[in-house]
Symmetry: C2
Subunit: 329 residues, 2 copies
């Protein structure tokens, strides 16, 4: 049986880096059937909608979605996809790689970001001209669900600690709901250490001592900010994949954008997209193949077999090829 994968290259370098990821997926020998769909700024211009119904239908009936990047309409496309696919967990690893210049080589953390509520889905109002409000919604249901997900991930991936990140000294009610759910989940996983920390202090400590953090679980907007911060610690978004998981098809997307300045030139760094492919393999149960892809990427990075942004001599597909060559090792 083949796995149906919906592929949405999107805008800018999205299609290129996605092609690289597909090549690697093909090379693993796992049985995939890829179907390509349109979305993004280009699609909006051509058809009047950024995320056509056909794309949404294709994504919904797939087993997983591989996404590239979207331009100005990214929020529209990606937030809609996350919601429609009921992908309530956003897993964002940040891991320093040998060979990639970076500030904090000790960094190896997974940010488990709640994806279905928080500041993102509470709605906004403009009660009078010049005054607007936005609502942050936090429920026990979604908080408990994401906290459990963080602990389960920690156990599966061999991390020993989960840190719940909050701002309960100011957001007393909403973050009390969040923290109480986290504490309940923590009790069910006594083998994993549990800590709580204020988001401002975490922003500082991630810079000063990133090795203090292993798995971070947090609400939507804090997760958005902290995962970009973590990307900064390992040298940028070029090495940051992400997985959106929940009750529907899983959605994998590099955290980086469309890089319009280098789009179409075959020189975009495909690392994040290829690491997305590895997360997809792991999600579908191909643990060995996922490990192999991640090891091959790490080997390429360590050996300078990379694109120009990292100082290497390769183009996008050249780096995919270099990863593929190292798959058996």
């Amino acid at each position: 049986k083949q796995h149906e994968i919906a592929v949405i290259g999107g805008d800018g370098v999205g299609p290129e880096v996605t092609e690289a990821a597909l090549a690697v997926l093909e090379a693993t020998g796992a049985p995939f059937n890829f179907t390509h769909y349109q979305a993004g700024d280009g699609t909006l211009e051509a058809t009047g909608v950024a995320l056509p119904q056909e794309t949404l239908d294709g994504a919904m009936k797939s087993e997983a979605v591989l996404f590239g990047a979207a331009g100005a309409c990214a929020a529209q496309v990606i937030l809609r996809l996350r919601a429609e696919l009921k992908a309530w967990a956003n897993l964002r690893p940040s891991k320093a790689y040998q060979g990639v210049p970076c500030l904090r080589p000790e960094t190896d953390m997974m940010i488990v970001r709640e994806n279905s509520e928080g500041m993102y889905f509470g709605g906004e109002d403009e009660p009078e001209p010049g005054k607007a409000t936005a609502t942050r919604i936090i429920t026990d249901h979604a908080s408990y669900r994401i906290a459990r997900c963080a602990f389960e991930f920690a156990i599966q991936a061999g991390y020993g600690k989960v840190t719940a990140v909050h701002k309960v000294n100011v957001l007393k009610k909403t973050d009390t709901v969040f923290l109480e759910a986290c504490r309940r989940a923590a009790k069910e996983f006594p083998q994993v250490a549990y800590e709580e920390a204020l988001v401002d202090s975490v922003a500082m400590r991630m810079v000063l001592k990133p090795e203090d953090f292993q798995v971070i679980v947090t609400t939507n907007l804090f997760g958005d900010i902290l995962s970009d911060l973590a990307a900064g610690l390992i040298g940028g978004l070029g090495m940051c994949p992400s997985a959106n998981l929940g009750d529907g098809p899983a959605l994998f997307e590099p955290v980086h954008g469309t890089a319009p300045d280098i789009a179409g030139q075959g020189k975009a760094n495909p690392t994040a997209a290829i690491l997305c492919a590895a997360m997809l393999l792991r999600h579908l149960g191909y643990t060995d193949k996922a490990d192999a892809v991640e090891a091959a990427v790490a080997a390429c990075l360590a050996q300078g077999q990379t694109t120009g942004d990292l100082g290497g001599p390769l183009g996008t597909m050249g780096m995919a090829q270099a990863v593929i060559e190292r798959l058996g090792e």
Copy 2:
């Protein structure tokens, strides 16, 4: 005429570092009258209130308040003070100092944080058990006011650029109110460059390229997070003073906490508190004295005349003395 200064040492190392700052202020020869007031965890325990009316009255009738640190009740004390003093602007400099081990020596930025609304003062609700909401309020009035403050500060301090930090792709209404006010202010200060940037991307860029930022203007919670991040870049909160300014007495506080583990031992690093004293001097118009204190602090740091946390041989008052000795230079 003497300047009436209300001094609130607070908890932990608060009183010690404040004494160091007072010694430096005295040594500048500017005419001050200091009155001490109580607040914090200790006061709460002793009197049942964290911020007694007497303290509030004393702060209100002063020309400026010098604050140390507060413990578990910090949010109560400091948010109340900011509100009562109508201190709607929170100025948080992060500047790397020679002699202080730090990740990003290029860092030299001022975060101008809106202090009167945002997520901090919109209120929370618990419409049903297990579900809570928090409201973010953004007004044109407060946004325009803080944006003007950022530009005025940039001109006064010789910075060439203001970056407005937002999340308008998700918080469309509230951050449109914020950005439109910033743009209006920007038009009045054509001599200063103006940029806008998403908060997540700023969190990454501050790590990767802090020299991209000079003055940042942003809403309350983003400012809270980013100023701690910036502190991380320069080696920690030990070198971070802050000024709360607005329509009432100004309030100066080190960004660091009470450090209970070293409280009462005379070894706390007074740098942030002494830099608060410099900000106070500047605020009252003693520009030369403010410059002198800042230069003396920088000299101490560069020459290793510091407390033990920075590898130096001095205690809290010893460092104050070292700063005072360098005041004339």
